[in-house]
Symmetry: C2
Subunit: 204 residues, 2 copies
Amino acid sequence: MISRDRILEAAGRVYAKHGFRGATTRLIAIEAGVNEVTLFRTFGSKGALLEAVLTHSDEQFSVPALPTLPVDPQAELTAYLGVALDKLRAMRPLLVHATSEVDERPEAARFACEGRHHAHEELRAYVLRLQANGLASDDADVNTAVAMLVSAVMGDVMGRPMVADTYPPIDEAAARYVRCFFRMIGANTGAAATTHRKSRSRIA
Amino acid sequence: MISRDRILEAAGRVYAKHGFRGATTRLIAIEAGVNEVTLFRTFGSKGALLEAVLTHSDEQFSVPALPTLPVDPQAELTAYLGVALDKLRAMRPLLVHATSEVDERPEAARFACEGRHHAHEELRAYVLRLQANGLASDDADVNTAVAMLVSAVMGDVMGRPMVADTYPPIDEAAARYVRCFFRMIGANTGAAATTHRKSRSRIA
DNA sequence: ACAGCAAGCAAGTAGGTACTTGCATACTCG
DNA sequence: CGAGTATGCAAGTACCTACTTGCTTGCTGT
């Protein structure tokens, strides 16, 4: 039963590279250093194997929750986005293929959607807490703002490898998204340290 | 030579539905109501056909430019985003498949990236014009804000069909993104008509 | 009327795909 | 030691894929 894990991980890699149709059982077997029959004996069929890969993959995906009581919103959000960006970048290839196969393989839908939905709810709740504590303006369009932030993160992860030059520098991305987001929801960006950040506002 | 166009459009539809590997020549021929050999006689190979589909598709894609001299930024941007959203939604399936196949079919990259890059530059230039005319704050992080707006549009197009409930209502989307964007760049949202829009700020 | 060309049709080639079967090998546990 | 179990290997099945060939049909322009 050692091979099971080897196959799972190999399948993950091959699937990430070539998508479902491109991930042939032969390729997966070779990548796992395992005989092709073992693959069928262990998982039954290619479809079942790929399903196992997806559930296995989003079991491993977890982002630390945002604090219930906001104390330093800017730092908290930046850290949250930083972790989310890292984890999402690691699973980008899987995500993009899963997204494109949602129509043909419905089991991919959960994988491609669940995360976004969860993140949206978490962020939305957090902003409502900010509002409740007077840390964000009341007339903000919270839902749209959060949707834009989530899209920014997803867009960064999905698009940066293809068109890097339209995104903020990778090591500043999280912080910049947060600052822009704070302006959207009318939160004062780091009350105490109102640094004059004018010089940083242009890039290329 | 009637069949050439029929094949091109049929190939577009089949490719949009099944991706490159799933778009078999047989399927395309059937969809076009044409014999399979005609397809090879006209385009030479499946790869060449799909390349023709992509170039054909982004020739047709055009969004009206933003005005050189901004007079009603909110209306102008909203209209611009509205058109972009519509056009992108129409080509979403093509886009998502092209994105997932960038690694294997480099000719798909141009198709998947060019639009985003162009839109970013156009929007960025527009915002700089807003700033020059005193219609947007000078300390805004223009590049990041524009990246977030573009991501919001792409995210809406790509994600809404899968997780509709996290996005603003489809008929208000453009306007809401623009309002949030204006807060990001410190633009006064509709100078003359400072309507009390507090009641509209929450959704679900 | 006749040449030329676009298209259909039937059949075939060479290779890849998921998946199966039968048998041999090794390793583990009682 | 001996039974069970996991794995490897060789071969095969049935089907799909891109692409080709040779021949026929029908329409078009001169």
